[in-house]
Symmetry: C2
């Protein structure tokens, strides 16, 4: 009985995702595209110098406000001594690399599952080049942001190298954070007057 | 004696930043631009489904490898139930908002200090619109990334509204994460073959 349950469970899960729920979600969005609209949010408060703290909890998606989280996620930004801080947290550009790493990973897992590919191992190493003359306004020809970001991906799967390379290319094109970095996305800053 | 020390300390710090160290850093980079070159890094390992974990520690900057951190920063990505997870962590696009919030905050504080403006309060609220049809590959006309990100900034400072608006515009142009989002930045994914 226990063995049968285990087999049944394996057959509906792949790469840690519920395969039926994945396809049900895709079908629901296909029949009502308004369910695909999400709004994510963060609130941040400056503490001192290069230290500030974000809280993340609510968002809108799948046609309603989400109430699944019973507490906030809280993250601290800090800076290392060479950037005038005391390592109170990772710094913002490092958090961007974390976001990018996580997004390409989850995007790859999602599409591997949709294609019936089992992923055995997946890890990434990221490097991003940044020239702080841009941040400091010392040279207008230097962009303040990352010049380039490189991701080295280690992946083992039950498919051919060709199928894996196709999955990686698809992942790069469809990862929300990768797309936000690769494409110009408008950021509107509005000063609250009250 | 204690009072004199307190006064001396106040006079060299503004907005939690060491003013002398800030200008020393700027002068050092002006005289040797190679000190401005940084490389930031993250390592990430997939755990299961939409769960993965990043470790952040070392980086290169100011002409050398940094060894100031005696332990890793560790962050978990997860997904809410509506995106097939169990809220094991904030999700990658939420971490991107945290990175952006932190970066505009630290950039504003840095340039306020360089301009001699004291910031009394600073907080931000961010919203980003995302249509998951892009991620899922259901409609090629829908971008997978954020369509737009809005930042509402609450700030109190010892300067005029005009000086504050000028500082905000400068911050938007010089924040590394904001610039990475607003500008197309190349992301190169390479599959390790060994």
């Amino acid at each position: 009985m226990k063995t049968q349950q285990a087999v049944a469970q394996r057959s509906t899960h792949m790469n840690g995702l519920d395969v039926q729920a994945t396809f049900d979600t895709i079908d629901a969005i296909k029949s009502d595209s308004s369910l695909a609209k999400f709004q994510f949010r963060a609130r941040n408060a400056w503490i001192d110098g290069g230290i500030n703290r974000s809280t993340i909890r609510d968002f809108y998606g799948a046609g309603r406000e989400d109430h699944s989280r019973d507490s906030d996620f809280v993250f601290m930004n800090g800076e290392p001594p060479v950037l005038l801080g005391n390592n109170e947290g990772a710094n913002p550009v490092e958090f961007l690399l974390h976001a990018l790493a996580g997004c390409v990973t989850t995007t790859l897992i999602t599409h591997a599952t949709a294609r019936g590919i089992t992923i055995q191992e997946l890890s990434t190493e990221l490097e991003g080049d940044l020239d702080v003359r841009g941040l400091l306004g010392l040279d207008d020809s230097v962009s303040p942001g990352f010049e380039q970001i490189r991701i080295r991906m280690h992946v083992k799967a039950d498919c051919s190298d060709e199928a894996l390379d196709d999955l990686l290319a698809y992942t790069q094109q469809h990862s929300p954070v990768c797309n936000t970095v690769c494409r110009p996305v408008p950021v509107k800053i509005h000063r609250a007057t009250s």
